[in-house]
């Protein structure tokens, strides 16, 4: 293992993180409006009251001072206190993050399972009618907005058939705090189906097309001719040699997928009122709860950076050529 490669990646990660934190800090403060205006009744407000709220929120300090204080607290693992809920940001964002990750992981598994399988199948049926229809359908679905697909699924499975709920993560029992108990309950799984289906339908297209194209390249490559010449059976040839090589680009794409997925889940979470990070960001921005918005932004940013980092290491581990190239 090339440790200097890993060390370099870690340094880049830290620098990127600092840039992200700085952008998040100043970006949300550029929004028009003021957090105090979201906490006080405009009818009851008098100037002294508003000023007192601003003071309490620490918004009277000059912006650079607020920034330095924020960085100092961040180094101690303190993301601050929500203006709106008066709770630690880590408590709010942490729980939302877990709810979003469940959605992301399940969606990822479903999307990739369906996408890779379908892509391999279409590659083996190149030129057939089923491949042409499947390809067209995939592009149409890919172009449709996620919330549109979500609304269609809600209309069918929730409003018309009444089979599945369309709101929230569970129907009650909010006092249950054990995440395993929550995420494995039947109630939760019923609530999970529609959001995952919505996200996976659009998300499976990219791995499907990539898998199909990559498989076609791999199947026509020289080493596959050699494998065939050695007398390896077709199925083994396809799956042990072909798919394994075709999976490489999907590993790289998978890391990007995670990033897009978390960002793209915002609309899914709003449509289904899923209590995740995306919906938390929307609420925080709408109410100018700067610290929650920043905290959520940071969580997503760290997640994406860590995923890219792991993907880079994984790619180097899977492909000896990458390891030799970076060691030089």
């Amino acid at each position: 293992m090339n440790w200097s490669y890993i060390a370099r990646r870690l340094v880049y990660l830290v620098i990127n993180l600092w840039v992200l934190i700085t952008i998040a800090f100043f970006l949300f403060r550029l929004l028009p409006g003021n957090p105090a205006d979201f906490l006080i009744d405009p009818l009851l407000t008098d100037p002294e009251r508003r000023a007192a709220v601003m003071e309490r929120l620490g918004l009277n300090d000059p912006l650079p001072v607020q920034y330095v204080k924020y960085l100092g607290a961040l180094l101690q693992g303190d993301l601050g206190t929500s203006f709106r809920n008066n709770l630690p940001v880590t408590q709010i964002v942490g729980r939302s993050f877990a709810n979003t990750m469940v959605l992301v992981v399940v969606m990822f598994v479903v999307a990739y399972a369906v996408g890779v399988t379908a892509g391999a199948y279409f590659a083996s049926r190149r030129g057939a009618l089923v491949e042409r229809i499947g390809g067209t359908l995939a592009l149409v679905v890919r172009g449709a907005p996620g919330f549109f697909i979500g609304v269609l699924l809600i209309l069918l499975f929730s409003a018309t058939l009444g089979w599945l709920p369309s709101t929230g993560m569970r129907s009650g029992n909010y006092s249950e705090s054990n995440l395993w108990a929550i995420y494995t309950s039947t109630d939760f799984i019923r609530h999970l189906i529609l959001p995952v289906a919505t996200a996976a339908i659009t998300a499976c297209v990219a791995p499907m097309i990539l898998m199909r194209n990559t498989m076609l390249d791999v199947m026509h490559s020289d080493f596959m001719d050699l494998v065939e010449a050695k007398g390896v059976p077709r199925r083994r040839r396809l799956y042990r040699h072909g798919v394994r090589n075709a999976l490489m680009p999907l590993v790289a794409e998978g890391s990007q997928f995670i990033g897009y997925a978390v960002g793209g889940l915002v609309e899914i979470e709003v449509v289904f009122s899923w209590p995740g990070l995306g919906r938390e960001i929307v609420t925080a921005i709408n109410t100018r709860d700067y610290l929650v918005a920043q905290g959520a932004f940071i969580y997503i940013g760290v997640l994406v950076m860590v995923v890219y980092f792991v993907a880079d290491i994984l790619a180097a581990a899977l492909d000896p050529r990458l390891r030799r190239a970076t060691s030089h």
């Binding site: 028009p32 409006g33 003021n34 205006d37 979201f38 906490l39 006080i40 009744d41 405009p42 009818l43 009851l44 407000t45 008098d46 100037p47 009251r49 508003r50 007192a52 709220v53 206190t81 709106r84 809920n85 008066n86 709770l87 630690p88 408590q91 709010i92 729980r95 939302s96 809600i154 929730s158 409003a159 009444g162 709920p165 369309s166 709101t167 929230g168 993560m169 569970r170 129907s171 009650g172 029992n173 909010y174 006092s175 979470e269 709003v270 449509v271 289904f272 009122s273 209590p275 919906r279 938390e280 929307v282 609420t283 709408n286 100018r288």
Partner: protein, 577 residues
């Protein structure tokens, strides 16, 4: 003879000249259409600076603004329109005072059934200070005198007269125009709940429904969908009325409650009486018990009043400002001393101040090492109300019925579910996730769609919310002139607004005290185009009358149709100047 001829010719010539002068004189021209040639930009009425909600924030109000602006432009005014995405940005813009007309409104809440807030905070001169709630900087001695008098008047009949007079002055002086009052339409799952109780301005989103509605289906839990997140269960946090207040008022009792008819009735108090203008004797019920079994006594009431005041909890600052002190008489009796006679004490402190257990809160700051009690994040808080707290999360709040309460709920518990938006509220009702919804959380389309869902029923109460516009009285603002406001008052097409834009879900605006507030609304004020200037009346939609009003005040139009001030214009600020 020659002298006679000369005199005649001279008279004729003079008459002709005078006639010619009159013909070309603007005053004569004004008697016809007000168009005058040769006007310069010096007399041009400056652009009207209009700030209002965007379509995304509040579509009906946005459309109402467009209707009016079209009329103003037809009158020759230039209008610059700034649209804002939410009330908070609007609040910020209000502070800058860079407007002539600002469209906004005030949601009807139970405490606003008392007329004081909506009479005083919007238009009283003392609130016309920078950052104050009188955004247009309206100042009228006559109005101030009447409103301050009603604030102190404890005789209901006399107060009613004063409240009516205040509304009449609003209609005469036009510092504010209410465009419309949205109706409070509601939907509920009638297969799961019966005996529902609607309240003025709140629909089914009210304490009485949450306690008295009866479960008739297979689920004994009262489920309510609320748009947006739940802020905090901590009663020391609220700066404004929000969804969390609705929950807090279920967990903690108050001395009085506003009933569905809009009257304050004794609740934790058994009775009360004024011994003089500023001294209220209160007798507590003797069966009050906190959820942890400790008795609720007068000491807890005094503690609560003092505690909320000491820590300056935003929502309660104004109600408590009227209270000078609270004295204990014994375990079940206390005396509340007011700083001055007040007519709004019952809608204020009596029905709003939550009774906290002194034994849980008295030392919480030291015990938990907090800067202030609002920083306490504990959710298992003790109250004495008809519901107890089970859990508080980002997804929702769960309460359990307190069957030992003197007025226990019909349901076994209550769940408040937090959802993203109005569409999600409707879906929650449709798929049975919720049986009730928060006030004003359904679109007209949602209410219409509910008719096609078998288990949903709809109902309606008159709203007390007001949506309108405030005029600027700042020096140099065109709307400082009464004639301009009176003309603009004739440019609101109420028929189109109610029938088309609101689709019938509302009524034409009438003062800051809505018709839905049947106790305090002045029914005597008529709609009229011909009433004399000193007779209280609302102006009907009449663009011709708008133009005539300006014409009568000396306004003129150039040949391009642009509106100009009268010659030597000096604005007449009030209707009786």
């Amino acid at each position: 003879m020659n002298r006679l001829w000369k005199a005649s010719i001279l008279s004729l010539a003079t008459s002709s000249l005078l006639t010619l002068n009159v013909l070309t004189n603007s005053s004569w021209a004004q008697e016809n259409d007000g168009v005058v040639e040769g006007l310069t930009d010096e007399t041009l009425v400056p652009p009207i600076r209009y700030i209002g909600p965007s379509a995304a924030w509040e579509a009906p109000h946005f459309e109402a603004g467009n209707l009016m602006i079209t009329e103003w432009q037809a009158l020759g005014m230039t209008v610059t329109q700034e649209l804002v995405p939410d009330p908070q940005v609007l609040g910020s813009l209000m502070l800058q005072r860079n407007f002539d007309v600002i469209a906004h409104g005030y949601i009807g809440t139970l405490d606003r059934l008392d007329p004081d807030q909506l009479l005083s905070r919007i238009l009283l001169c003392e609130f016309a200070v920078p950052g104050g709630s009188n955004r247009g900087q309206y100042c009228s001695e006559e109005y101030d005198e009447v409103v301050l008098a009603q604030k102190r008047e404890t005789d209901t009949a006399k107060r009613l007269e004063l409240v009516h007079r205040a509304q009449q002055i609003q209609s005469l002086d036009i510092p504010w125009i209410t465009d419309y009052h949205p109706s409070e339409d509601y939907v509920w799952n009638s297969a799961m709940y019966g005996d529902v109780v609607s309240a003025a301005g709140m629909g089914l989103y009210n304490f009485w429904n949450e306690v008295n509605a009866k479960p008739i289906g297979n689920d004994p839990i009262y489920r309510i969908a609320v748009q947006g997140d739940f802020r905090s269960i901590n009663p020391m946090v609220p700066d404004t009325v929000d969804g969390d207040i609705e929950i807090q008022r279920l967990v903690w009792d108050t001395l009085g409650r506003v009933n569905p008819e809009g009257e304050v009735i004794p609740w934790a108090a058994e009775s009360w009486e004024f011994t003089d203008d500023t001294t209220l004797k209160v007798a507590l019920r003797k069966d009050l018990v906190f959820h942890d079994g400790e008795p609720l006594t007068a000491a807890d009431v005094k503690f609560s009043f003092d505690y909320f005041k000491k820590w300056e909890v935003g929502l309660y600052i104004n109600p408590l400002a009227e209270i000078e002190s609270v004295e204990l008489v014994d375990d079940h009796n206390l005396v509340i001393n007011l700083s001055a006679p007040s007519s709004s004490i019952f809608f204020g402190a009596i029905s709003q101040i939550l009774i906290l257990p002194e034994h849980q809160w008295a030392d919480v700051v030291e015990r938990e090492s907090l800067a202030a009690p609002r920083d306490w994040t504990e959710t298992q808080l003790v109250g004495s109300g008809p519901y107890k707290i089970k859990s508080v999360t980002r997804e929702g709040v769960e309460l359990v019925a307190n069957k030992d309460h003197f007025h226990p709920p019909q349901s076994e518990g209550l769940v408040m579910i937090s959802v993203s938006d109005q569409q999600a509220v409707f879906r929650a009702l449709q798929d049975g996730t919720a049986y009730f919804h928060q006030v004003a959380s359904l679109t007209p389309a949602g209410i219409d769609a509910a008719g096609g869902v078998p288990h949903l029923s709809a109902g309606k109460t008159s709203g007390i919310t007001i949506r309108g516009m405030a005029f600027s009285f700042a020096e140099g603002s065109p709307t400082r002139d009464f004639a301009m406001r009176a003309a603009m008052a004739h440019t609101i097409d109420y028929g189109t607004l109610v029938d088309v834009i609101l689709r019938g879900y509302g009524e034409a605006g009438e003062s800051t005290i809505a018709p839905g507030n049947v106790t305090w609304h002045d029914q005597s004020i008529e709609w009229s185009d011909t009433a004399a200037a000193d007779v209280p009346h609302y102006r009907s939609y009449n663009p011709g009358k708008a133009r005539q009003t300006l014409l009568d005040a000396g306004y003129r139009w150039d040949t391009q149709g642009r509106l100009h001030y009268p010659e030597n214009h000096a604005p007449k600020v009030h209707y009786d100047d």
